[in-house]
């Protein structure tokens, strides 16, 4: 055997070892760190597998909702497709197949109902969520009031004008701008400070958690879901806030409408609502 082919074999061996180690580590964390598993592994079809097109702001709570449903219904597997509601809507309109749709924007749900993409009688209100301002731990921008958000040099992240969290953020900012809570020119000041428009709500949370921006407009549930002490909060009074209503329904193309309906029933049950409440969602009574 020549020297070079011996070397090649050594290299291949090292490569395999590295890959195996990486996979082993990934496997271990997968079983021990269940708190950050958002997309659950799919097992071979048991007839109980459903795919849930889920608004990205439910990323945190989905990690609890899925396993709770699976435990209560052995043989079922729930896979979440977590993206901005506007992206999910576009995907459904372009032919993506799933079983359940959880929307953060009622207008988008109505569009899909009108287009025949949802089984209309299954559509229900699921829960709701308020907008808050979050700051990185330590408050690097020294923001103590809503007024401070307009101070020149602050860095702010918010959702795009299409993503539900961004739509509600704009409503809230308009409400506040017309109130006596903030100084004149506040709205313009805030928008001048925006350094990034994110296409999902978790995108905003990430930029704030990393400390890369001074403040971000997100849902209350994201603040509640974050590790204690990792974020600070500037609340927005309820009278100026915009309550985000979440809706849920079975998709017309679903091949497993029975389990899909079961999952929706679970979400609306006291157990499902309790899990949502733990993550800072406001239940609709």
């Amino acid at each position: 055997m020549s020297d070079s082919s011996a070397r090649k074999i050594t290299v291949l061996f090292v490569l395999c070892a590295v890959l195996t180690a990486a996979l082993a580590i990934a496997g271990c964390t997968g079983t021990t760190g269940s708190d950050n598993v958002t997309t659950l592994a799919t097992t071979p079809a048991t007839g109980g597998d459903i795919v849930v097109f889920t608004a990205a702001s439910l990323t945190g709570v989905s990690a609890d909702l899925g396993p709770a449903f699976e435990d209560a219904n052995p043989g079922t597997t729930v896979t979440f497709n977590l993206q901005g509601t506007q992206s999910l809507k576009k995907q459904i309109e372009l032919g993506a197949t799933g079983d359940v749709f959880i929307s953060a924007k009622t207008a988008y749900t109505n569009d899909l109902m009108a287009g025949g993409y949802l089984v209309n009688e299954t559509v229900k209100k699921l829960t709701s969520n308020y907008i808050v301002v979050i700051l990185p731990a330590g408050n690097p921008g020294n923001i103590t009031s809503l007024d401070d958000l307009a101070r020149p040099g602050m860095k702010i992240a918010m959702g795009t004008a299409e993503v539900p969290v961004g739509i509600n953020t704009r409503t809230v900012i308009d409400n506040l701008a017309n109130s006596t809570l903030v100084s004149s020119g506040w709205k313009e000041g805030v928008f001048d400070n925006v350094v990034t428009y994110e296409t999902t709500e978790p995108g905003v949370v990430t930029k704030v958690s990393l400390g890369e921006v001074d403040a971000g407009f997100v849902y209350e549930s994201s603040y509640k879901a974050a590790a204690a002490g990792s974020l600070e909060l500037v609340p927005i009074p309820e009278e100026y806030n915009a309550l985000q209503i979440y809706t849920v329904g079975v998709l017309s193309d679903s091949t497993n409408k029975e389990t899909a309906q079961k999952f929706i029933d679970f979400l609306l049950s006291s157990e499902g609502q309790e899990i949502l409440k733990n993550y800072g969602f406001t239940s609709i009574s």
Binding site: E162, V163, V195, Y197, T199, K207, L210, G211, E212
Partner: protein
């Protein structure tokens, strides 16, 4: 009789092979072009007339051209001498350097962007100190350029390395024995001999920078006029006004096609074809 049958069989085989080859080429072509056909079929002249003058589209177009241009010039300025020394010198760890140069080609751009954020972000490894002296890089136009340089530099560096390696050292040695300085040799002998190959590498780098998405949205964010390049504008528009997304996509396809044609023309009949 036998000979004729053999000949027939051979002819048949040759024809069958040709047929299979042609089918395979056709499949490749269709697979690569049909998506673009689908895109172009959605376009009407009115749609382009309506949305191309759109402010978001215009801003994204100029920002893309500007940042990709700066990224390309930077890669050429630093990459050309670096690639030359790399090719002409034997040094320990050279293979490792080759690997690092190729790494961005296989690294998911989102990983590149996230890593850049963890290095240059204001709470990052280097960014913390830059922030103290008042320099914030993340979420600026500079961050767009840096992300583009990271992902697109291999296209130029690989090409430059290959060109310099193929070049016979006799040219340089002759020039030097005739009293030319190394700098003058590089400028007047080496560069002219490799120019067309280097330019095609630079064009590929520009094209890759123009299409950059994942690293940019992670490291530079998405702000119209500041960091929203064309691919980001397409992504943002996809979620709202589909027609805007189509208009920008067509524009990018046209630019990409023009770029590839330019590379083909430049490298035609050249020794250093890629």
């Amino acid at each position: 009789m036998n000979v004729m049958a053999d000949e027939k069989r051979q002819k048949f085989r040759a024809r069958a092979a040709k047929g299979i080859a042609a089918t395979l080429v056709l499949i490749v072509c269709l697979y690569l072009t049909l998506p673009l056909v689908a895109l172009v079929l959605r376009v009407t002249p009115e749609l382009l007339m309506t949305y191309l003058p759109n402010e978001t589209v215009q801003k994204a177009l100029w920002l893309s051209l500007l940042t990709s241009g700066i990224a390309t010039v930077t890669v050429i300025a630093i990459g050309t001498p670096a690639a030359y020394f790399h090719s002409r010198t034997a040094y320990p760890g050279k293979t490792l350097v080759d690997t690092f140069i190729d790494l961005p080609l296989v690294l998911p751009p989102a990983v590149a962007g996230f890593s850049l954020l963890l290095l240059f972000g204001r709470t990052g490894l280097l960014g913390t100190y830059l922030h103290i002296i008042g320099i914030d890089v993340a979420f600026t136009t500079l961050a767009v350029v840096m992300a583009q340089i990271f992902v697109s530099s291999p296209f130029y560096l690989r090409q430059a390395k290959a060109l310099f390696e193929q070049l016979d050292p006799a040219y340089e040695e002759t020039a030097r024995t005739l009293g030319s300085s190394s700098f003058r040799t590089f400028i007047s002998i080496i560069l002219p001999l490799t120019a067309s190959g280097l330019i095609s590498g630079a064009i590929m780098t520009f094209a890759r920078a123009l299409g950059e998405f994942g690293a940019t949205i992670m490291f530079a964010g998405n702000l119209p006029g500041v960091t929203q390049t064309m691919p980001l504008a397409i992504y943002a528009a996809m979620q709202g006004n589909f027609d805007v997304a189509i208009a920008i996509s067509v524009l990018l396809v046209a630019i990409s096609l023009a770029i590839m044609l330019a590379v083909r023309l430049l490298t035609r009949n050249r020794k250093y074809d890629v």
